[in-house]
Amino acid sequence: MIKDWLFPWESHIMINHPLAMPVFMGIASFFLSIVTWTRGNNNQNKSKQKDMDEN
């Protein structure tokens, strides 16, 4: 059961538990937001697209 919710992008889980994917994405994006929040305090001044100039 737990396994079903760990890999929600797999097609059979998408079909059997359509809600698993949104829930997974929600949780994942919350955890990833922590990265944003913590890093945001460190280097707020840095411009976002600095590397884009490389090419």
């Binding site: 797999e10 079909i15 994917m21 994405m25 990833l32 990265v35 090419n55």
Partner: protein, 373 residues
């Protein structure tokens, strides 16, 4: 800062919107009325893309993933913004699966999935290193050939006399219900509302916002017409029954081309057409995903993210669907409902409302301040 031109935006938009629909067909559930679905989807698509463009006007200088933190605030906006790169990744994985099934069913039957995915992603990763400018330039180079190939197949199909207009009749046999059902969310989202992703590159276009709006809408109409032409050709060419059951209807149509017994079996060329458009769609998905990750994690160089994202994509390409029937079932019955409705329709509309309200309040405050003075 990389810049892309107006024409490049047009090309990328068309490639992105046409994407894989050209071979998988559009609105197949509506049978021979799929062309009506295409038209309605196009109209709805134009409407929703205009809203996205309006959102980018309201949030000047910000990309899609920055709209939400800007309007909803840091605490609510950031998690919402994170949903999008994840969606892009998942959709990239789906394209890889499309390619994997198509190539192994039709041209490379005994080749293992992994070899195809690796090879395909290798080229895509190389492109990610080259950057969006180069992706756009390749688009420019391939676009005329892409059009010529489509036009060429139209001509060949017309010449080999396999189209039967009778196949379109009777129109609207089962009424509007199945048509509307396959228009929303699938038809209007597939390609059209998906163009929300292009909000990641609207900023890079070196023209005014007005020109971006014009170009994007024109490109939408253009790709809508391309899809319409192919849908009409497929239905009149192979009939409703095969349109519904064929895994790759465009492929079935092209394989019927037979001119004097000499020019025939152009199946492989149909596959090439598909590979080119799928290739651009995948490259763009991954580019947007990498860009989104980079903006949100505030990593300085997106180059660092290319290898991890490519590895994730290899995994997704391998695991997103375990067989073709499930893959299609998810595409038609699950994925549009559980992800697209939320991410491509509800959230942008909510964002629009919030932005407008905030704007109104701001204006009111300004007026009051002015009145005080």
């Amino acid at each position: 800062m990389e810049r892309i031109s107006q024409y490049q935006l047009f090309v990328l938009t068309v490639f992105f919107q046409v994407g894989t629909t050209i071979i998988f067909g559009f609105g197949a559930a509506a049978g021979r009325d799929a062309w009506i679905v295409t038209i309605i989807s196009l109209l709805v698509g134009i409407f929703v893309i205009s809203i996205y463009l309006f959102l980018s006007y309201l949030n000047p200088g910000l990309t899609l993933v920055e709209w939400f933190p800007a309007q909803f605030g840091k605490w609510i906006g950031t998690p919402i913004a994170w949903l999008y790169p994840l969606l892009f990744l998942y959709e990239g994985g789906r394209i890889l699966n499309d390619i994997k099934y198509l190539t192994t069913t039709i041209i490379l039957v005994d080749t293992p999935f992994l070899a195809i995915i690796l090879f395909f992603l290798l080229v895509v990763a190389y492109l990610q290193y080259c950057g969006i400018e180069v992706i756009a330039r390749i688009g420019e180079i391939f676009f005329p050939y892409f059009l010529v190939m489509i036009l060429g197949s139209v001509v060949l199909i017309l010449v080999s006399d396999i189209l039967r207009v009778d196949n379109l009749l009777p129109v609207l046999k089962n009424g509007w219900k199945p048509i509307l059902a396959s228009t929303f969310p699938l038809g209007a989202s597939q390609g059209f509302a998906q163009s929300l992703e292009l909000a990641m590159i609207w900023l890079l276009v070196s023209t005014s916002h007005k020109e971006i709006v014009k170009t994007t809408l024109f490109a939408t109409v253009f790709s809508g017409l391309l899809i319409l032409i192919t849908v009409l050709m497929i239905i009149t060419g192979i009939g409703e029954f095969f349109y519904k059951i064929e895994s790759f209807p465009m492929f079935a149509l092209v394989s019927k081309v037979n001119i004097g017994g000499i020019i025939k079996n152009l199946d492989a060329f149909a596959v090439l057409l598909f590979i080119i458009s799928a290739f651009f769609k995948l490259s763009l998905h991954l580019f947007f995903a990498i860009r989104g990750f980079q903006i949100l994690t505030k990593v300085e160089s997106s180059r660092k993210l290319i290898i991890p994202i490519t590895i994730i994509s290899i995994y997704l390409g391998y695991s997103v669907s375990s067989n073709y029937e499930e893959h299609i079932k998810v595409a038609i019955e699950v994925f549009p409902y559980n992800l697209w409705i939320m991410l491509l329709w509800i959230l942008p509309f909510a964002l629009l409302i919030v932005t407008l309200i905030k704007r109104a309040i701001k204006n009111r405050k300004k007026e009051m301040a002015q009145a005080k003075e």
